[in-house]
């Protein structure tokens, strides 16, 4: 699976993050290549969200590097990272609850706000992906069901035309059927050439759709490999179920 260095579009190396005394991430290295769909697995509190927040510039690392297309982005503010092409549907979604779905989506295109035509095009693409959002476009985002809100969050992240889309547990709290729909949409997104970095509880479902995966435990990467390697590995089950 090792590809040439210049093709690693996202490269995280030896990243550590601390909250005060608490070490949330320790020497984490991870990479995503062009067109890849990578899943990060791990129990709650293992450090997935911290990793994603740090990549997106919401937190500062205490050590290590993050580079994107060869450019160092660690410690840069979120708006800079977003404009480099990394967007995220974060844990807790962080929608603008009182704004309409449409406004949530157009705000997603904030960094390309002058590109009116492009925005409308992307909007159409999002509506195609999640047809329900077209129906609900005038409703305040906060009034939507959990699954629909998740769709808005993903749609919003797509509106910036990202090169890399980070999804932090998009199926969290969703009914199984809805969770399925959401993950299906993620696959479609990846097929358009957008790199995907996904955190997911449902390891089976996630591994089935991803190319590669990492397992995070206690702030460290304990396992990595291709889908096939990980699917057959009992270790994953250990990481989740402790046996």
């Amino acid at each position: 699976m090792q590809k040439k260095r210049e093709k690693k579009m996202l490269e995280v190396s030896d990243l550590s993050v601390r909250y005060g005394e608490f070490v949330a991430l320790r020497d984490v290295s991870l990479e995503v290549d062009e067109g890849e769909f990578v899943v990060v697995l791990g129990a709650n509190g293992a450090g997935k969200s911290t990793l994603f927040r740090t990549i997106n510039g919401l937190m500062r690392p205490s050590a290590g590097e993050i580079s994107f297309y060869g450019e160092r982005i660690e410690g840069r503010p979120a708006n800079t990272v977003v404009s480099r092409g990394v967007t995220q549907s974060a844990e807790g979604r962080h929608l603008f609850p009182e704004l309409s779905v449409l406004k949530n989506l157009t705000l997603g295109a904030y960094i390309r706000r002058r590109d009116r035509a492009g925005i409308n095009e992307s909007l159409e693409e999002v509506y195609e992906l999640f047809p329900i959002l077209r129906e609900k476009r005038r409703d305040p985002a906060g009034s939507l069901s959990g699954g629909q809100q998740q769709m808005v969050a993903i749609g919003r992240a797509l509106m910036a035309k990202p090169k890399l889309l980070i999804l932090d547990e998009p199926s969290l709290g969703l009914a199984p059927l809805v969770a399925r729909q959401v993950l299906d949409a993620v696959v479609q997104i990846n097929r358009t050439g957008i790199m995907v970095l996904l955190a997911e509880q449902n390891a089976q479902a996630a591994l089935k759709i991803a190319h590669r995966g990492y397992v995070v435990e206690n702030g460290e990467i304990t396992l990595q490999g291709t889908r096939e390697e990980l699917l057959g590995n009992g270790e994953i089950r250990r990481a989740y179920m402790g046996a």
Binding site: V17, R18, Y19, G20, E21, A24, S62
Partner: protein
């Protein structure tokens, strides 16, 4: 860990008290003596604010209102009804705290900024009542001729020195009470609520009732300082009850250091001193004073007492343990 040993601290405390006791013998200057008395009175008020804001973490902006209730209780009773000073002072404390208790029932339903601005409203309404209720409070004419306290046994209060000792005694009493509370289980409950209301609750503390208690104590002390102010100044006008007075008291506390035992006293002394010193700049003094306040808040957010604590902590802390992980959108938590 402690910079001064217990022994030395006791000695130093004795020295400070001795200096305070000797001041009138050395200073034959009524202006300075008056200034010190005023600083003592404001310090008492600031101790009251400290109970609520410093220990319990609730920002009240009605403090001048309760100060005013204390002052006007003494003023009205002595001037309009010829009451002696001592029972009037007692009633001032009682009245301020009872009113504080009642208002606290409503005020403490609100939280954070809402509590601050609710109490700002309370303070302003108290001011309006005092300013407009002419027949009772003298309105904006004020009350003239609040007497000096009558003698207690052999002690007479006829001159500024005696009054100085009286106010000093109340200051020492206030500090003693504040220290007693701070070191008691009640005080620990206050601090627990400031640190984390949830954790306090999980430790079995009745948060609502404890805040109510802190609010009541705070207003009682405000009432006491108001009553002393009335006899010190001899004349009461509504301006002293108005909102800016609250901000002045708050400033004393912030400059000195919230939540500390020495903060209110240091702050009251320093700010009154700086402010008097700036008199020489006349109209420019607030032009200078404003930025000084801002710089203090930015660079010494925990006041001078806090500065001392930080120095102490810096000595203790090993350098490699500097915290790093910083949450970027830090105001989010406020919501």
């Amino acid at each position: 860990m402690q910079v001064l040993s217990r022994h030395w601290r006791k000695l130093a405390l004795a020295v400070v008290l001795l200096v305070a006791l000797l001041i009138p013998l050395f200073i034959d200057n009524q202006y300075l003596l008056g200034l010190i008395m005023l600083a003592y009175i404001w310090a008492i008020a600031a101790y009251g604010l400290n109970v609520l804001l410093g220990y319990t973490g609730q920002l009240t902006l009605a403090h001048a209102g309760f100060f005013g209730i204390g002052a006007y209780t003494v003023g009205i009773l002595t001037v309009n009804y010829g009451f002696p000073f001592w029972p009037s002072l007692l009633l001032a404390v009682v009245f301020a705290s009872v009113l504080g208790f009642l208002i606290g029932i409503f005020a403490l339903r609100t939280q954070n900024e809402y509590f601050a601005i609710f109490t700002l409203g309370v303070g302003f309404v108290i001011f309006l009542v005092i300013e407009r209720w002419e027949s009772f409070t003298g309105g904006s004419l004020g009350l003239i001729g609040v007497p000096y306290p009558e003698g207690l046994g052999p002690i007479q209060f006829e001159g500024p020195e005696q009054l100085y000792y009286l106010i000093l005694a109340f200051l020492v009493l206030t500090i003693y009470v504040a220290a007693s509370i701070a070191h008691s289980l009640v005080g620990r409950s206050f601090i627990a609520i400031r640190n984390s209301p949830d954790l306090a609750m999980a430790a079995g503390i009745n948060v609502g009732r404890t805040k109510q208690l802190a609010f009541t104590i705070s207003t009682a002390i405000a009432g006491l300082s108001g009553g002393l102010y009335a006899t010190y100044i001899g004349f009461l006008g509504p301006a002293i009850v108005n909102v800016p007075t609250t901000f002045e008291i708050l400033l004393y506390l912030l400059v000195g250091g919230m939540g500390s035992l020495s903060g209110p006293l240091i702050g009251a002394f320093l700010v009154t001193t700086i402010f008097e010193y700036f008199q020489q700049f006349e109209a420019y003094r607030l032009v200078i004073f404003g930025p000084v306040v801002i710089l203090l808040i930015i660079f010494f957010p925990r006041g001078l007492a806090g500065l001392w604590g930080e120095l102490e902590a810096r000595v203790r802390r090993s350098p490699e343990k500097e915290a790093e992980g910083r949450e970027e959108p830090s105001r989010e938590e406020v919501r």
